[in-house]
């Protein structure tokens, strides 16, 4: 009995649901057709289309960063070279002979003054 009632209900539901489907509003039928056509017209390469510019932009960014990075490197090398040269200069300025010369400078001034006083 219960099965029979359920079967009747099932049949009635099926009929009504199919009727509902057949009575779909014209506006919705039109929109569904549009949606179907849009879905079918995609060629499956929508992601590939976007993939190429994205990949290109990424590579360009990497190249740009790499370019600036390697541009930076010689500058730092130059700085090092310059500092090394400065160090060499100061080493030259303050090597032992020059230091002695500066230490004896007062003596040479005194000697020059004395010689001028003796001749004058």
């Amino acid at each position: 009995m219960t099965n029979q009632i359920e079967h009747q209900l099932e049949t009635a539901l099926q009929q009504d649901l199919h009727h509902l489907e057949n009575e779909t509003e014209a506006r919705d039928v039109f929109r569904l057709a549009q949606a179907r056509n849009r879905a079918l017209s995609q060629n499956g390469s929508s992601r590939k289309k976007g993939f190429i510019p994205t990949l290109g932009a990424s590579l360009a960014s990497i190249l740009l960063v790499a370019f600036f990075f390697f541009q930076e490197a010689p500058v730092s090398l130059n700085n090092e070279t310059v500092s090394e040269l400065n160090r060499a200069d100061s080493a030259f300025e303050f090597d032992d002979e020059n230091v002695e010369l500066y230490e004896d400078l007062d003596f040479y001034y005194w000697l020059a003054d004395n010689e001028q006083g003796a001749t004058g």
Binding site: I5, E6, Q8, L9, E10, T11, A12, L13, Q14, D16, L17, H18, H19, L20, E21, N22, E23, T24, E25, A26, R27, D28, V29, R31, L32, A33, A35, R36, R38, A39, L40, Q42, G44, S46
Partner: protein, 204 residues
């Protein structure tokens, strides 16, 4: 994603003419034409909103064509309904988050707007009944829609696929991603609940 059960039950791929005879479609376009209205009404019953239902159906069509167009015609139906169900679940999740973040949105976004609707657009596709029959059927369908909406989601899915779409238990299990036993349980419970809710439903 494999459809092992379906593949086992339909061991060989049907040629186009045979698929057309057995399934009623052999190309993707024919399949979508066959299924679109039903899918739309299922989504509308689940969401209660025309526009949302249309979006869900469109997204499902896109995904089916994009991902599974190369599958056999027998596989399309369970795959399509699986996609449709998952899109509907996505909608529920988004709606739950939106309702939490913007509590007032639930009062403004429910139902369809009747503004700017051309009366010609509301014309049904086919008029075959007398006014009395149409009125009675409309009332029955309204009540049916309310009752189906009151069902838990899994029961509603089982009912829609088994009763409306006429899918086998095996296909329904594939579409719902569950066992055949679960499909039977969900379907049986749905029918019991509907029998109680639709006491005065005129099905004798």
């Amino acid at each position: 994603m494999t459809l092992s059960i379906v593949e086992k039950s339909q061991a060989k791929e049907l040629p186009n003419e045979e698929a057309q005879k057995v399934l009623g479609y052999s190309s993707m376009e024919e399949f979508l034409k066959v299924i679109e209205r039903r899918a739309f009404h299922m989504a509308r019953m689940a969401t209660g909103n025309n526009d949302t239902a249309m979006d869900i159906v469109q997204d499902s069509m896109y995904k089916l064509v994009e991902k599974y167009a190369d599958r056999t015609a027998q596989e399309w139906k369970p795959l399509f309904y699986r996609i449709l169900n998952s899109k509907t679940i996505d909608y529920y999740r988004r709606k739950a988050v939106r309702d939490r973040v913007f509590p007032w949105s639930r009062y403004t976004s429910n139902g369809d707007s009747d503004q700017n609707v051309d009366i010609v657009d509301l014309t049904p596709g086919r008029i075959s009944d007398t006014p009395d029959e149409m009125l009675m059927r409309t009332q029955r369908i309204d009540k049916l829609t309310q009752s189906v909406n009151a069902l838990p989601r899994r029961q509603r899915e089982a009912l829609m696929l088994r009763c409306w779409e006429g899918m086998s238990t095996i296909e329904t299990a594939e579409a719902m991603k569950c066992s055949q036993g679960s499909v039977k349980t969900h379907y049986s419970r749905a029918m019991h609940t509907l029998r109680d809710l639709l006491e005065d439903y005129n099905y004798d």
